[in-house]
């Protein structure tokens, strides 16, 4: 599903070039469960942003479902984001003045789904995540775990092909974090590709495939406790 071919992302800080990603090649199949780990500044967030089409590579080709996407224009990339990619953030990023229902409804509005269908889809996703009774609450009336569940509902409501999670439990207590992970893994079992960036080794270990980044390069790629050969 995801095919990265010699991807580099170079930032220019002052006169200095920083290689956030340095010639990475990577394939991720549909329905995989991948964790990306590594020390701060190793490039994991940059990788996630690239995968989510929030950033463009300096060099290399990114193919999504066999379509080269890194060269698409802004409008087309936005369309792929709203149809195929779901984001889950550490800080939830719910819109504070909108209710849980309205926050989840937003991506459907952007996709031009009609109101009746929106309502039905939002209800069903909120119900499946166990927060239907919180539908009319605003984010400040929700607990951290509930907020993250609303954010996950927002990511799932468009039925994306992959879910990109950046430290999804980083701002939650253990129990809520655990619940959130259960929900994400449950979705993964239903066929959704799940890519999690995390510092937490316990969370990282749960993934069937674990990628370790250091200095912008993949230094380890383990699938089902089998170390894969690194692509050149």
């Amino acid at each position: 599903m995801i095919h990265l071919d010699h991807i580099s992302r170079i930032f220019t800080v002052g006169t200095q070039e920083v290689r956030a990603l340095d010639d990475i090649s990577l394939d991720i199949g549909a329905g995989e469960y991948v964790s990306i780990m590594g020390p701060s500044g190793s490039g994991k967030s940059t990788l996630l942003n690239l995968l989510g089409l929030l950033d463009r590579p300096t060099h290399g080709i990114y193919k999504l479902q066999n379509e080269p996407v890194s060269s698409l224009d802004e409008e087309q990339q936005a369309r792929i984001r709203r149809e195929q990619i779901g984001f889950v953030f550490q800080f939830f990023h719910l819109i504070p003045r909108l209710t849980a229902f309205e926050n989840v409804e937003l991506p459907l509005s952007l996709n031009g789904v009609i109101k009746e269908e929106r309502a039905q889809r939002v209800r069903s996703i909120l119900d499946s995540l166990g927060i239907l009774d919180r539908a009319s609450h605003r984010p400040d009336q929700l607990s951290g775990g509930q907020r993250q569940r609303v954010a996950i509902a927002r990511a799932l409501v468009v039925q994306p092909a992959m879910l990109l999670a950046d430290e999804p439990t980083g701002n939650l207590d253990r129990r809520s974090g655990r619940e959130v992970i259960d929900i994400l893994e449950d979705q993964n079992r239903k066929g959704l590709a799940l890519i999690v960036v995390t510092h937490d080794p316990d969370l990282g270990k749960r993934a069937r495939r674990r990628i370790r980044l250091e200095d912008g390069q993949i230094v380890q790629d383990i699938r089902n406790d089998q170390t894969l050969p690194l692509e050149q």
Partner: protein, 401 residues
């Protein structure tokens, strides 16, 4: 995102920061109100002047002594009256078939007295024809008699104000008053409505023109009012008057002839221009309100960076972000304009009720103009913030909590 969804989203946003939205709205409303109020004042002034001209009498041609033109003569001669406009000049104008009537006017001030009350008033010497030309009305008695205009008669007609002050309730008709050292018998009293442009007949005493000429010891008339038989004949009459007076004044065209329509047209033009000018100045306040909208939106953009970043992450393209902010700005400006139109129209209605003598008139094009302007001002001034929002770096916007 359908326009309905965008508007709903915008209303959410505006409702969230009520005070700021309301203040912006008020600024736009004040601008609109200023436009409506000032243009309706201007239009009212124009109607007022028109009405005053109507009361001057219809199909009127006014002859004035002297002629304003630049000549090569020495400066002191400029604008002076070489020849008087005499009573005979006036009477000679009656000859033309397009002329319905002629009223010579002699004007001056003199003390009048009755018993031991005395005051200085305006004296208007004229003939019986003045009554129809100026569409005067009498409260009591009769007007100056139709006799030979060259005949001096010791009669007068009083303005209503003077009659009240001089006679204080006593019967005035038939009484003798003194103007300077001459005695005049009161024939009639004008109705108090007798007030029109340039001349307050309320405070004037009317006497036969020949009497006034001898009273002021002069040959010279102040004006000659000539009434044409119809509007289309005004220009004919004007040409005839010029010709006639030129012959009588040894070939010199030393008078100024104006038609009422000409003056009215000039007044209309001037006041229209003034209204337009004042209206334009008022539209500056709309532009200022537009700047305020831009300011509010810029603040809004920097406050909602995370939200914008999120919208982009969940797939809103840049043009969507732009339209969100433009709709926000346009909604603010149109709401403000709506409030301004409603309050402006109500204010004009209230003013109209307080000052019934002044014809306030709401100008339709000003409302349309204000609406269009506030729309464009809202649109234009939101474009920059909207563009700024759309170019926001998603990653940076989302990296902060």
């Amino acid at each position: 995102m359908s326009i309905f969804d965008i508007v709903q989203y915008t209303i959410h946003t505006l409702a969230r920061r009520k005070i700021r939205s309301i203040l912006t709205l008020v600024a736009m409303a004040i601008g609109t109100l200023a436009v409506i109020l000032l243009t309706s004042l201007g239009e009212g002034a124009r109607i007022y002047v028109n009405q005053e001209f109507q009361s001057l009498g219809s199909n009127l041609v006014i002859v004035m002594p002297g002629r304003s033109e630049t000549t090569g003569a020495a400066p002191p001669l400029l604008g002076e009256t070489p020849r008087d406009l005499t009573l005979r000049d006036a009477l000679s104008l009656k000859k033309h078939r397009s002329v319905k009537s002629v009223a010579p006017v002699c004007f001056g001030a003199a003390p009048i007295s009755f018993n031991n009350l005395e005051r200085e008033v305006s004296i208007l010497g004229t003939t019986a024809e003045m009554y129809d030309i100026r569409q005067l009305a009498l409260a009591k008695g009769q007007f100056l008699p139709s006799v030979d205009p060259e005949l001096s008669q010791a009669v007068c007609v009083l303005g209503s104000g003077i009659a009240k002050e001089l006679f204080v309730g006593k019967p005035a008709l038939g009484s003798w008053i003194r103007i300077r050292d001459q005695r005049f018998r009161v024939l009639g009293i004008l109705d108090s409505k007798g007030r029109s442009l340039g001349l307050d007949l309320h405070e004037t005493v009317l006497i036969p023109v020949a009497s006034s000429l001898s009273l002021f010891n002069t040959e010279s008339l102040f004006r000659i009012l000539v009434q044409a038989r119809s509007e289309s004949e005004c220009e004919n009459v004007k040409a005839f008057i010029k010709r006639q007076i030129k012959i009588r004044h040894e070939g010199e065209e030393d008078i100024t002839v104006i038609t009422q329509d000409g003056v009215l047209a000039a007044f209309n033009k001037i006041i229209r221009a003034l209204t337009l000018g004042v209206g334009f100045i008022a539209t500056i306040s709309l532009a200022v309100a537009g700047l305020l909208i831009m300011n509010v939106l810029l603040i809004s953009v920097s406050e909602r960076k995370t939200e914008i970043g999120l919208l982009k992450a969940i797939g809103a393209p840049e043009r969507q972000i732009i339209s969100l902010f433009i709709v926000e700005g346009v909604t603010l400006s149109l709401l403000g304009c709506g409030v301004g139109i409603v309050s402006g129209c109500s204010l004009v209605a209230i003013l109209g009720a307080i000052f019934p003598q002044f014809p306030f008139k709401i100008v339709f094009w000003a409302i349309i103009g204000a609406l269009l302007l506030s729309f464009f001002s809202g649109y234009l001034f939101s474009y920059l913030p909207a563009k700024k929002a759309s170019k926001l770096d998603t990653i940076i916007a989302l990296s902060k909590r």
